[in-house]
C-alpha cells in the first residue's frame, strides 16, 4: 500500500465505530500491541518531552527509506503512534513531506494533536517531518 492508501484504510477502519469508546478501545489495543522497543532506544536524547505523556522516537535512514521506532508511557498515545508508524514507516522522505497528516483529524483524534495538549505526539510528528526533510 502507498502512504495515501494506508491513510484511507485507517480512516475507513475508524468509520466503523459509532461509539467514541469503541474507537478508544481499538486505539488501546493497538497501543498494547505496539512492538516493545529496546530500553536503550528510550534514552533521554530520544525522549520528546510533553506536559503529560512522554514519547520516545528513534529513527533511521536506510536504502533511501525512513524507519521509525517509538514508544510512550501512555497507552492511547501508543495507539496513535502505532497508526503513525503504520503510515510512515519504510517510506521515502518525499512521500512523508507530501503527506499532510490529516488522517488523524479525519478519524476524530485532532484533540490529541492540538498544541495546547502539549503532549509528545505533536513533537513526534514534527520530528518525523524534520527527519524527512533532512534526507530528501
Amino acid at each position: 500500500m502507498t502512504l495515501k492508501e494506508e491513510e484511507i484504510a485507517i480512516v475507513e477502519e475508524f468509520a466503523m465505530f459509532d461509539e467514541w469508546l469503541d474507537k478508544y478501545e481499538y486505539l488501546i489495543d493497538l497501543g498494547k500491541n505496539l512492538p516493545i522497543i529496546p530500553e536503550d532506544s528510550k534514552s533521554d536524547d530520544k525522549l520528546i518531552k510533553g506536559c503529560q505523556s512522554r514519547v520516545w522516537l528513534d529513527s533511521k535512514f536506510e536504502d533511501g527509506k525512513l524507519f521509525f521506532q517509538a514508544d510512550s508511557d501512555a497507552i492511547i498515545t501508543k495507539g496513535i503512534i502505532a497508526l503513525l508508524i503504520r503510515v510512515y514507516n519504510g517510506r521515502e522522505p518525499q512521500e512523508i513531506i507530501d503527506s499532510d497528516f490529516s488522517f488523524i483529524e479525519k478519524i476524530g483524534l485532532k484533540d490529541n494533536l492540538s498544541p495546547t495538549r502539549a503532549n509528545g505526539l505533536v513533537s513526534m510528528i514534527q520530528q518525523i517531518k524534520l527527519f524527512a526533510n533532512e534526507y530528501r
Binding site: Y24, I75, I76
Partner: protein, 407 residues
Amino acid sequence: MISVENIRDNFPILSQKVYGKSLIYLDNAATSQRPLSVIDFQESFSRECNANVHRAVHSLSGIATDLYESGREAVRSFLDAEYKEEIIFTSGTTASINLMAHSFVEAFCARGDVIVISQAEHHSNIVPWQMAALRTGIEVKVAPINRDGSIDLEELREILKDKRVKLLSITHISNVLGVVNPIQEIVKIAHNQGVKVLVDGAQGVVHSLISVRETDVDFYAFSGHKIYAPTGIGVLYGKRELLDIMPPFMGGGDMVDTVTFEKTIYAPLPLKFEAGTQNIAAVASLKPALEFAMQISDNDEFVNRERQIVEYVTKELNVIEGLTILGTATPKIPLFSFVIDGVHHEDVAQILDKMGVAVRSGLVCAEPLINSYGYTGIIRASFAPYNTLEEAQIFIKSLHRAISMLK
C-alpha cells in the same frame, strides 16, 4: 432559596451532553460554573450600565461606579474585613500574589531576607517569589508537609524562627491535596515570630468560610472564577496599615492623586493599587456570585452532602487496586488527586472524557509537589456544591470501566 434539589437549575451549562453522554463536570478546582444570577447580571450590565468608573460626572458612570463599589462591599463582607479599602481588585490570585511579590517585598524586605512558602503550593505561589528573589536578592524557603498532606507545624515553627523571615505565603487549601490548612494556628505561629502571612485562598474561599478578622491573616488572595464569578477578576485583601506602607505595583490612571511631570502623589487605598481601567462588570458581578456562595455555605444540606461525597469517594477509591490518593489528612474538601499503578493519568482522563466525565490530569500547576510524591502526573476529580452523589457514583463506575479498558 437554593437547595440541594434545585441548585442545578441555576447552572444551564450542566444539562449539556458531551459525546452523547450527560456532562459530569468534576474540574471545579480549575474553574467553577456560573449561576444564572451571575450570567444575567453580566448581560444586564452590558446592556444597561456599561461605563468607566470613578472618572466622569455623567449618570451612567455613576451607576457603574456604584455597582463596582458594591462588588467591593460584597467582598469585604464575604471575607469579614473591617474596611472596604482593604479590598484590592486584581485579575486573579496569580496577579494578587505578583502584586505582593513586588509591593510587599519593596516595602518590607532587604537583600538576604526570606519569604517562606510551603511544599504544597501552586506555581502561582512559587514563581512570583523566585522572580522577586532574582530581582531583589531575597531568599525563598520551603516549609515541608507530612506525607498525608498536612502541613508540618513543627518544622514550620523552626523555619519561621529565622529573624530574616518577613513573610509566610501559604495556601489555604492545596489544589492537589484538598486538605484544609489550619490557618488560624499558622497565623499565630507566624505572628509570634513577627512574620506576616499571605494566604492563597484560590481553593480555600470555595469550601471554607474565612474571616480575615478572626484568623488575623495579613493578606488573603482569591480568584472570582473559582467561586461562580467570571474569569479575569481576583482579590487581594490586606490589612490597611500594611497596604498603606506598600508602594503601588503598577502606575497609570486612577491610582493617582496629583500628577506633574516631576512627581506623582498616589491616590489613597484602594485605588493606589488599581491602575488603569479595571474589569468593571466582573468586579460588579462578584456581588451576585458571592451572595450565591453565602447562601450555600449557610445551608447545612450542602455541608452534609459535601461530607457524604467525601466519605463515599474516599471509600470507593480506596478499594481500587493499586490506587493511591494524594492528600489523606483531614479536614478534606471533595477534591481527589490520585494515581493508579500501571495506568497513565492522561489515558484515564481521556477515557473518562469520552464517558462524559470531565476531570483534570497531569501536573495541575503544582509540579514540585507532585514530583515530591514521586509522580509525573495525577488524575484530579474536584466537586462543587452542584455535583450530586449520583454523579459521584457514575464517576466511580466510569473509573472502574476506564481502568479495566486500560489494564
